[in-house]
C-alpha cells in the first residue's frame, strides 16, 4: 500500500503539474490567427496555373 506521506520527487511533482493543467501550451498569439492574417497568408500562396500558357504569339509565316 502506498504511503501518501512520502514526499513526491521533483520529477513526480513536474509530471503532476503537467497532469493537473488544462492544457500544456505556449504561444504568442493566444487563440488563433486573425482573419486579416489568414487573408495575408492566402495571398502569399503561389498560384498554380492549370493550363500551360504560350510564352509568345505563334509565328505566322506570310
Amino acid at each position: 500500500m502506498k504511503n501518501s506521506n512520502i514526499p513526491l520527487s521533483r520529477y513526480e511533482q513536474m509530471l503532476r503539474a503537467e497532469e493537473e493543467c488544462d492544457s500544456i501550451t505556449a504561444g504568442r498569439r493566444a487563440k488563433f490567427y486573425s482573419p486579416a492574417f489568414r487573408a495575408a497568408m492566402e495571398a502569399l500562396k503561389p498560384v498554380h496555373k492549370t493550363e500551360a500558357e504560350p510564352l509568345r504569339e505563334p509565328l505566322v509565316s506570310k
Binding site: M14, E18, I24, A26, G27
Partner: protein, 226 residues
Amino acid sequence: MRSLKKRCRKGRTEHRLRWLKTSSWVALMSIWLRNRQTGEQIAAQLELHVSKEQIAETECEWTGYRSSVPVETLSAIPESNDWNWLAKYEASLQGLTQFLGIRLEGKLQGMLQLDLVPRASRTNRYSVDHVLYVEYLETAPWNQKAYMDRHARFGGVGLELILGAIEMSVAHGCHGSLGLHSLPGALGFYLSLRFKDYGPDSSEEGLHYLELSPSDAVILKKESAK
C-alpha cells in the same frame, strides 16, 4: 551542436543521431513518457527536426481528434483549439525556426516551435545574456486534460519538449536559457519547471512572459533525471 552531440553520446539513456544523405541531419533522442492510466514508463523519441510533411500529417490527426470530441462534454473550449500547426510552419522563417516533436505509437504526442535567433534576456537586462524563444508549444489533444479530463494518455510530453529546447539553447550559445509566453491554462506547469514569471505582457495579448535561467535549466535537467 557540440553539447547536443555530447549528450547524445554520453546520455544515461540510449541516444542516437542519424545523418541523412542530404546535408541536413535529423536527430532522434530516446526519452521516456508516462502512461497516465497504468503509470508505466514508455520509451518514446524526441525528434529535433520535424518536417513539413510530418506537421501536415499531425495537423490532420489533431484536428480530426479535436472535432471528434463533443463540445458539450468540454467544460471550456481549450485555448489552442483553433491552432493550425501547418499555418505556423508556413508563416515561419525557414532556417531561423525549428520544430521539435515527440513520437510514440507512430504519432506526434506534442510539438514545439523554437525561434533560433537568440533574444535579450529579461532576467538580466544589463548583461549579454540571451534566450531562445519558444514560439509555440502544444501537446496532442488526447494528452490534454481539457479534452480528456482524467483519461489523458501520456504524461511528460511538455517536460520532454522543454528539455529538448534546453538542449537546442545550449547548442546555440544560450546556456539552456529559454523564454516563452504561457497560455493561462499552462502557467502552473511552467512555474513547476522553475520558469520565472515576469507577469502579463501587454504587447502579447496579456499573456504571461516566463523565462528559464541557465542555472535553473541545469537544475531542471538534473531533477528530470529518472
